[in-house]
Symmetry: C2
Subunit: 222 residues, 2 copies
Amino acid sequence: MDYKITETKSRITEDNDRCAEEVRRRLKETGTVLINLMGSPGAGKTTFLIRTLQALKDRYRIGVMEADVDSDVDAAAVSELGVRVIQLHTGGSCHMDADMTMRGLTEMGYDDLDLIVLENVGNLVCPAEFDVGANIRVMILSVPEGDDKPLKYPLMFQVSDCMIINKIDVLPVFDFSVEEARKRARNLNPNLTVIPLSAGNGEGFDEWIRWLTERMEAYEGH
Amino acid sequence: MDYKITETKSRITEDNDRCAEEVRRRLKETGTVLINLMGSPGAGKTTFLIRTLQALKDRYRIGVMEADVDSDVDAAAVSELGVRVIQLHTGGSCHMDADMTMRGLTEMGYDDLDLIVLENVGNLVCPAEFDVGANIRVMILSVPEGDDKPLKYPLMFQVSDCMIINKIDVLPVFDFSVEEARKRARNLNPNLTVIPLSAGNGEGFDEWIRWLTERMEAYEGH
């Protein structure tokens, strides 16, 4: 049984795509890179973000937009690092869209920043459907979630540039194959970069920092 | 910054609520209980469901509706138990609504069943917003997701009757307090039943089966 996508939905998506292009155009003017960081609740997005900020905050001027249905838990944790951070409450909505991103950018101020990370609402489905105007889309799949997730939530893997396999420190206690996860994700998206790491203990993190830094340099040189 | 809920959304929700009441009315006529099983991707919904079926399939006539954005992975696993199962593809949608549930019930047939379990799309946000017409709402929070999730995704905890804390077998390797999770969830919903267990090894499962059986008997006697 298939659920029919309504016309309303198509129209919303078209409007969103136009707005996302406008976000990208404005950020290009100021040379600012926007990362859309996505993943399930509990995949480790905030821990991953904090370690990334610790590694790069002396090298780049970084801002963070924390999107949550409710609560300021993550923004409070991030602000302790002395990085500019804004909390966005989606008011029940399960994802960020381009208009909400634009309003967040305007409120935070972005023209003096090199890099902005948007931590999206924890959700492996809806955020994949909405282009927020990001230059880099990063998704996190954590080991306890299982290596079958690309089969069940394909769109997220298709729209991402980089897939972080997080919590590899607990591989011994879960039935999870890094190779199977990589293969299934790359079947959906042959261009996907896959980086296994542990945001908790830092194992494998250098590869992610190297990959991101290369992307930042490519953007600047463009 | 708050995102404004649009009028369109309110109208959709009202239509859905009417349809959900119709689902409940029809199921009451045939004495069938419907469970809406919700939780993040990888929380262990399918493993939990399969163990529940193993425990109860000789006692009740049970049907399963597997909702997925895409793929038939879960339906294939469940059908091996000899239980009636139908796969619902939401066509990209991040949740089941009452109309989709009604269509699933009609397609599967339900008048000879005592119990139907709807395994919702893996998502801690959107399924909480849509009443599908269930009599019992069960949500799974797994240990690796973290005990702070009630703070970040409050609605799911508010609308559920029972919260399963799954994967307690990996408590030693995660920083997760069952007591904190319970306290935070009950702050949102004082009537919530909280049952810690491991769907993987069966620890604590008896309490869940007892709770469900009592609910079934209460429904029948009503």
